[in-house]
């Protein structure tokens, strides 16, 4: 199945463009980013529960999110400041994962109306350096490798005990 989300990351550049079309009116797409209750709902997944610690959706506002696993351990905490917020059109904000070596990134979200019922999100993310961008891009890839390793360890570990 083809993924609806496109990621454009040119070699040697320190930014990337994430685009996605939604089967939603642009007002609802925008609301998903500014309403704390809705943010918590779509940021959560079967492995992690998202919590909005702070979300002041306004110019010069700030936000902080965290995720916990099934055991209640914090697996992620991050946030940033909102530089500009134009309802239904644009959000410019910074983002930084706490305790990660990636540094802050600048995110420009452009909300575009396609038809009355469909919309498009253009997400431009700018990093401090090419190396930083590439490290962030490779994270899910590295996690995939780690998960494979953990799975092997689990299997081998359980065999040892038996």
């Amino acid at each position: 199945m083809e993924l609806k989300t496109k990621v454009a990351a040119e070699d040697g550049k320190h930014d990337l463009l994430i685009t996605r079309e939604f089967d939603l009116p642009v007002e609802l797409l925008f609301k998903a980013f500014v309403d704390p209750v809705l943010v918590e709902q779509w940021m959560s997944n079967p492995h992690a529960t998202a919590k909005v610690l702070k979300l002041e959706s306004a110019k010069h506002g700030s936000y902080q999110l965290q995720s916990t696993d099934a055991q209640g351990n914090i697996v992620f905490r991050g946030g940033g400041v909102i530089h500009e917020l134009i309802p239904g059109l644009k959000i410019t904000r910074t983002f930084e994962v706490e305790g990660a070596p990636f540094g802050a990134q600048l995110e420009v979200y452009g909300f575009e109306k396609l038809t009355d019922g469909t919309s498009k999100l253009n997400m431009h993310v700018i990093y401090e350096s090419v190396a930083q961008r590439d490290m962030v891009l490779k994270m899910p890839f590295a996690q995939g490798i780690n998960m494979a390793h953990n799975r092997i360890q689990e299997i081998l570990g359980s065999q040892k005990q038996s």
Binding site: L3, T5, I18, Q41, W42, N45, P140
Partner: protein, 107 residues
Amino acid sequence: MNLRRDVFQAIADPTRRAILLLVASHSMTAGAIAANFDTARPTVSKHLQILTECELLAQEQTGREIYYSLNSEKMKEVADFIEPFRKMWDDQFNKLEEVMKKYKTKK
């Protein structure tokens, strides 16, 4: 022992990455591949077995020799390291769409 092999596991090892590079240009026998490494022949055989199991290598019998070549279709899955990143965002945005559709009908 029958571990399910996956491509991430296969390419996590530097020797296996080197083997993939070797056979990328032309198919080679196990002996010819092993000649490129200082490691023992059985170790190389084990690597070839893992790469074959996860379908990154294709085997072809020519007379008494088995030739290994790169399965480029499977390689495409891993060649692009951006794919897991894209998948992560796609999952997230699918969830967003689902949540907002429910929200819309509730109103």
